[in-house]
Each structure stands twice: as structure tokens, then as C-alpha cells.
């Protein structure tokens, strides 16, 4: 790991995302562990939502207010790191659209967006990380979440780091890059269609023969975990950061903590 002794280590603002903040805080701690392992200091400033649900529901006023709030909370950091491709994509690729034609804002927004990264791409592309010190005994398959894949080009980075996890065997599923049917509010607005899409995804996950499913977005993970569990399938579903940070012993998504632990 790069030594922080020569100069002050970069200061990273961790934007946890609503879902990690509320549903699975352990992903936030895993992200912090990894960012520190990459030679950075981590802080978690007060934060709420990046505005993506409002943006994709057509509510530009709320989106804009949340974007301004997020920029103000994070713009003093050297980097802003997000354990989600869709929230990072929202900020990095869509925030500038909200300020078009506003010269007072635009340079500030662009400076800010240039510092924003999805967690795994930050570790690999920005910090040059090629391996992690973690162990996970399992056969793992990885789902490429759409926004991370298509807006941010995240595909090789998680596989590179997973390849360095001791005991981990990666088994690719068919159509790993096809949508899981989550789609934010889509999954509750059109449950039947969403259910049909995630059913196909579940079949592909099972076809991989993996005992563990990983991805970089908690929304997609909750959708796939929920479907696999509804089908009675025993596949552990986790955020990729948990495995990379060596937190593979935590109960998987939707699995009860054992009594006494």
C-alpha cells in the first residue's frame, strides 16, 4: 500500500448512499476499510440522498435541491467515494445536466464531479490497487449492475480484486451484464415485469453453480436476494466490498444473525 508518511494522505468523503446507510451499514464500514487500505483517510460527513429517485421520477426541483446539498457537504474532500455504481453515476454523469446554462454553478459542479468515484473503480483506477488482503472460501458469481457498467465502465475492476481473494473461486453466470429488473422505483411500480426479469436473473445465478452472489449496488442485491429467497434458494448475497474487506462472516443480505452472535 502507498505510504502516507511523505505527505498528507488523501482525504476521502464516504458517501454511503441511502440504502447502505439504512439497510446494510456493514457495507459502509467495508468501504471505509478498503479506502483506508488504499492509503486514504476516511470521513463520513452528514448526508442524505443523492437525488436519484427524484431524478428518475421526473422531479427536477427536488433533485436539484439534493444535488446542491450533496455538493455542499462533500466538495472540500480530495475524493468522494460511493459504494454504488448507480449513485456514483447519478452524481458523476447526471449532476452536470442539472446545472446546464448556469455559469455560477457549472465550474463548481464539474470540479466536484471530477472527484467522485464508485468504490471499486476508485480503488483500482485511482489508487492503483491490484490486490486485497482477504479470504473467502466460496464459489462466487458477480452481477454487473447497469449504471456502474454502462455509465462508469466498471467491469474488470471488481473481477481483478476478487481474483486476489484467497479461497475465492469466480464462476461467471450467463448474461452477467443484463439488468436484474430492479430499476429503482420501477420494481415497485411494475412488480410483475420486475419479477419476471429478476426470475431470469435468478436462473442465471443458479446456473453458475455459485454459492455466493456479489455486485456493487445494494438495490440490485436486495432485489436478487429477495427473489432467490422467495424461491427458497440458498445463495448468499453480499455487496462486493464486504468480501474485499474480509467481512465475509457477517450474515448475508436477508439472513438472520445467529442467536448469540
Amino acid at each position: 500500500m502507498p505510504s502516507p508518511s511523505a505527505q498528507r494522505p488523501p482525504l476521502v468523503g464516504l458517501f454511503a448512499t441511502c440504502l447502505v446507510d439504512t439497510i446494510r451499514p456493514s457495507v459502509g464500514f467495508a468501504a471505509a476499510t478498503l479506502i483506508e487500505a488504499a492509503g486514504c483517510e476516511v470521513e463520513v460527513p452528514r448526508q442524505t440522498c443523492c437525488g436519484q429517485p427524484a431524478f428518475n421520477s421526473g422531479d427536477r426541483v427536488t433533485t436539484r435541491a439534493l444535488a446542491e446539498q450533496t455538493i455542499a457537504a462533500f466538495e472540500t474532500f480530495d475524493y468522494v467515494v460511493v459504494p454504488s455504481g448507480s449513485c456514483a453515476g447519478m452524481i458523476k454523469t447526471h449532476y452536470p445536466e442539472l446545472f446546464v446554462g448556469e455559469p455560477d454553478w457549472m465550474p463548481r459542479v464539474e470540479r466536484f464531479c471530477a472527484k467522485v468515484f464508485e468504490l471499486v473503480s476508485f480503488l483500482v483506477d485511482v489508487r492503483g490497487m491490484t490486490q486485497v488482503a482477504a479470504r473467502y472460501d466460496g464459489r462466487v458469481t458477480y452481477h454487473d449492475s447497469c449504471s456502474g457498467l454502462r455509465e462508469l465502465g466498471i467491469k474488470a475492476q471488481p473481477r481483478l480484486l476478487l481474483g486476489s481473494v484467497e479461497g475465492l473461486e469466480l464462476s461467471e453466470m450467463p448474461d452477467a451484464d443484463v439488468c436484474c429488473g430492479f430499476g429503482g422505483t420501477f420494481c415497485v411500480k411494475y412488480p410483475d415485469v420486475s419479477g419476471a426479469i429478476v426470475e431470469k436473473k435468478a436462473a442465471n445465478i443458479l446456473a453458475s453453480g455459485a454459492d455466493t452472489l456479489l455486485a456493487g449496488d445494494l438495490g440490485c442485491l436486495m432485489n436478487m436476494a429477495g427473489k432467490l429467497q422467495r424461491m427458497g434458494k440458498d445463495v448468499a448475497v453480499r455487496h462486493v466490498a464486504e468480501i474485499l474487506a474480509g467481512q465475509g462472516d457477517d450474515p448475508a443480505i436477508g439472513v438472520a444473525r445467529k442467536a448469540g452472535s
Partner: protein, 477 residues
């Protein structure tokens, strides 16, 4: 009469489609077939993505100077002895076509595949006027005899299987011996060919669409794989081309570039089997061709799109790649979209043509996975344009109440950090306690849309922000 609009019932349509076993069997082949062939064709052409940029630029340039190219096209068609008609809306286009047919005393009209014809509901109108329209593209013929709309813009009968086609042929072709063997697809094809041959020869007018209208020469171009378009436009005495105004392209050179991305994106072919150029009526030295050549150019709301934020949609060259790669289309097929144009391109175009009030479901029924934009040969940002419709819907208070209220509460809380942090922390602690035993919920109040098809994971308890703060102060002390 036009195609029945059932887009407002998208959810019901989708439910029925998901329960329709033959349809699901047909849809399961859409993705693998089209996607694999497109990918293979793209991989054989290193400059494919550069050609997509070029295709986008050609269409952008044309749209920026559309008035100029329309006038140029009209002048060139007239020069070649043809006629150009401009139709503001579907009704006017129907009237123009019907008038030409009546003036020729037409009883039978053969038709090449045309989505614009579907858009204006031409067939029903012709029938009402006592003129028999005969679709000559095999897929269009199949759905015509079933009384259905196309379910795909380039493969209109992709929702059907062989057994259904055989049953329809036995139902409709009653003059043929009932004991005939139709088990082989080639037998079905031969029967359709035999039926259509008589119609080709009997037709008084032939109507085709156009993939491109070339301004510099006044040429209309169709690409087909069956050759039916050629017979449709050369055998009858009159040829009517029905095209919407964004089909304009400046030059033949431009067309040759667009053709290189069209078939590859659509079917994975390098070129369609037939690419047919028509310029004016038959000349004295020509061996064949129609005596009269008409081009009907349809606006139907497109000039309003040209002036607004949906202009980029007018680049569309109707390859179908967006729906071929769409997880929602794969799940429910084209009919669920409830009008003429399905899939992502339909989700953008349909509200422009039938109104956002009726079309609102379509831009919402997308996961925004972005695969459509990734494969579009003219790089239309389809998710962005669907989001544009969601904004229009929200601005006009058309968003369904549960979505609006849910979003309103979330927005109110998310905009107030002092409220968000304690409220989420408390809510998650309670939810975690409720779900502690099982780790998940099979049903949850206010989350019926989620738990209808999947479990909801119980939160770990307490928010990340609260836990982080506690851990930091623990470390500091």
C-alpha cells in the same frame, strides 16, 4: 379507424403477456437470436462505432436543415415526374392515399412493410372505403389475417409460433385442400407465396414505406429480405410511398453510410437481401415500373418534436436494436406497449404521437439499464428521453398518486438532514427488531409492490451514519 390504444392498460397487458405461455416461448428466442447476430456483425467491422458517430452526425445535420432537404426532395421527385404530398396528421395521410386509390379505381392494394401505415391505421381505413389492402411482407401478412398489430418494428409476427401460423392458414385459406401437409416451415412459406402471387398481379396500387428519402435525387429506398417490396412497387400501375418526414437524408453517399449500420444493428446482416431504390415513375426506356409515383410525407407531431427536447428521437432509423436488447421487451413483448411502436423507441415516440396522458406508462416501464442507448446505431439517448417524459408527467401532475406521495415524503425528509438522520435511524432500529428472527420479510406494509414478487431483507439496525459516529467517538475516548 386506427390501432386500438391500450397503453394506459400496460400493467394488465404485461400481466397477460407474462401468463401467455406460447408468447413467452416465442420471446425467449428474441434476445439470443438478435443480440448474438448483431454482436457478431459488429465484431467483424472495426469501424462500427465510428460509423455510428457518422450516422448520428448525418441525421443531426439533416434535422437541422430539414426544411431545405424537404424542398429539395420535393423538387427532385417532381423533376422525375412524380408527386409529393404533405400530410399534417394521420387523417390527412389516409385521405391522400385513399384519394389516389379511388382516382385509379383501385380495388386491391398490395403493401410492403410500413410502420407509418400502421401509425395512421391505413388498412382499416382502406377496408372501410371498399378497397382491399394486402400485406405482402410475410410477418405483416400473418398479423393481418389475425387482425393484430405488429409486435416488433422489423419482425412484426415475432410473437407467433409455427403451429399458430398453420392454424391461421387453415382458417383463412379455405379454398386449399384441407389434407395438405403444413408441418414444415417451407410448406407454410410456399403457401403464403402462392396466395400473395395472385395478389401482386391483381393489385392496382402498391404502397410501400421508405427507409430513406434522398434529397439530392428524389429517391425513396426500402430495405427488405423477401423481395415483396419490389413486387409491390413495380407491378401495379401506381406506387405510393408512405414515409414520415425524418426519413430524409441529403445524399446517396449518406445513405450508403447509414445502410452500413442499419442491417447490422437490426438483424446482424451486412446488408439486407434487397436494397431497392425508386426514383419517379417508369420512364419510356424502362422495361417495367409504375406509371405513377407518389410520395406522401407525414408529419403527425414530428415537427413539434423537432422544435423541442425530443429532437434526437427523430434520428431513429427503425432498426429495432433497442427492443432486441431491452429486458422489459424480452419479458412482455411488443403488444403490451399498447400501440404501434414498442420497446424503448416506442416508449419515447408513442407519448409524442398519442399524448403523454395515454402514453405515460411506457417511459416509466423501463429499468433505465441503458442497454438500448448502448446499441443504438444513431446514438439516441433513449433513457434520457424517457426521463424527459417522466418530467413532463410530473410537471403536469399526471404521476400516479402513490408514487407522488411516496416520493414527496422521501423528498421532504431527504432535504432535511436534521430530520433524516434520527428518523431513518429510529425506523431502521424498529424494522430490524421486527425482522430479527427471519432476517427478511415476506410482506411489509406499504411495500406490496416489492413483496409481491420477492422478500425484503431486514435492515441490520441503526443507520451507518449513527454507527459511524458512535464508533468514532468510541475511538476518540
Amino acid at each position: 379507424m386506427s390501432v386500438q390504444i391500450t397503453s394506459p392498460r400496460f400493467k394488465d397487458n404485461a400481466r397477460h403477456a407474462l401468463d401467455d405461455a406460447p408468447l413467452q416461448a416465442a420471446l425467449s428466442k428474441v434476445g439470443p437470436g438478435f443480440i448474438g447476430r448483431r454482436t457478431a456483425a459488429r465484431d467483424l467491422l472495426p469501424e462500427f462505432d465510428a460509423l455510428r458517430d457518422s450516422a448520428r452526425d448525418i441525421k443531426n445535420h439533416t434535422l437541422a436543415h430539414l426544411d431545405l432537404y424537404l424542398e429539395r426532395f420535393e423538387a427532385k421527385v417532381k423533376e422525375a415526374g412524380g408527386h409529393v404530398h404533405f400530410a399534417v396528421d394521420a387523417a390527412e395521410a389516409r385521405e391522400i392515399v385513399t384519394r389516389i386509390c379511388r382516382d385509379r379505381g383501385a380495388k386491391t392494394v398490395t403493401k410492403g412493410k410500413s410502420m407509418v401505415s400502421e401509425e395512421i391505421g391505413l388498412n382499416d381505413h382502406l377496408v372501410a372505403c371498399g378497397i382491399e389492402p394486402v400485406e405482402t411482407d410475410l410477418g405483416e401478412y400473418l398479423i393481418q389475417i389475425r387482425g393484430e398489430a405488429p409486435s416488433h418494428i422489423i419482425a412484426p409476427a415475432i410473437h407467433l409460433n409455427k403451429d399458430q401460423v398453420e392454424a391461421d392458414f387453415r382458417r383463412v385459406h379455405t379454398h386449399l385442400p384441407p389434407e395438405r401437409n403444413l408441418t414444415e416451415p417451407t410448406a407454410l412459406l410456399a403457401e403464403a407465396r402462392g396466395e400473395l402471387r395472385a395478389k401482386f398481379l391483381a393489385a392496382d396500387v402498391g404502397i410501400t414505406g421508405a427507409n430513406f428519402l434522398v434529397a439530392e435525387t428524389g429517391t425513396s429506398i426500402i430495405v427488405t429480405n423477401e423481395g415483396n417490396g419490389d413486387l409491390t412497387q413495380t407491378l401495379p400501375g401506381t406506387h405510393i410511398v408512405l414515409a414520415s418526414l425524418e426519413k430524409l437524408v441529403p445524399t446517396l453517399e449518406d445513405v450508403s453510410q447509414l445502410l452500413r449500420v442499419l442491417a447490422r444493428s437490426a438483424t446482424g446482416q451486412e446488408m439486407s437481401v434487397y436494397t431497392t431504390f425508386s426514383t419517379g415513375p417508369r420512364r419510356p426506356q424502362d422495361l417495367d415500373g409504375p406509371g405513377e409515383y407518389h410520395v406522401v410525407i407525414l408529419d403527425n407531431g414530428r415537427s413539434a418534436m423537432l422544435a423541442g427536447q425530443l429532437r434526437e428521437m427523430l434520428r431513429c432509423i427503425r432498426c429495432g436494436a433497442c427492443m432486441n436488447h431491452c429486458p422489459v421487451y424480452h419479458a412482455v413483448g411488443g403488444h403490451a406497449y399498447g400501440w404501434v411502436y414498442p420497446g424503448p423507441m416506442g416508449a419515447v415516440l408513442t407519448p409524442s404521437l398519442i399524448g403523454i396522458e395515454k402514453g405515460a406508462n411506457l417511459p416509466n416501464a423501463s429499468t433505465f439499464c441503458g442497454r438500448c442507448e448502448e446499441v443504438c446505431p444513431v446514438r439516441i439517448p433513449l433513457p434520457k428521453l424517457m426521463r424527459h417524459w417522466r418530467e413532463k408527467e410530473f410537471e403536469r401532475h399526471l404521476t400516479p398518486a402513490p408514487v407522488r406521495y411516496g416520493l414527496g415524503i422521501w423528498s421532504f425528509v431527504a432535504r432535511r438532514g436534521w430530520l433524516y438522520r434520527p428518523a431513518t435511524d429510529l425506523a431502521m432500529r424498529l424494522l430490524a427488531m421486527a425482522g430479527r428472527a427471519k432476517g427478511r420479510f415476506a410482506s411489509l406494509p406499504l411495500a406490496g409492490g416489492w413483496t409481491k414478487v420477492r422478500d425484503f431483507p431486514a435492515p441490520q439496525g441503526g443507520t451507518f451514519q449513527a454507527q459511524w459516529k458512535a464508533r468514532k467517538s468510541g475511538r476518540a475516548s
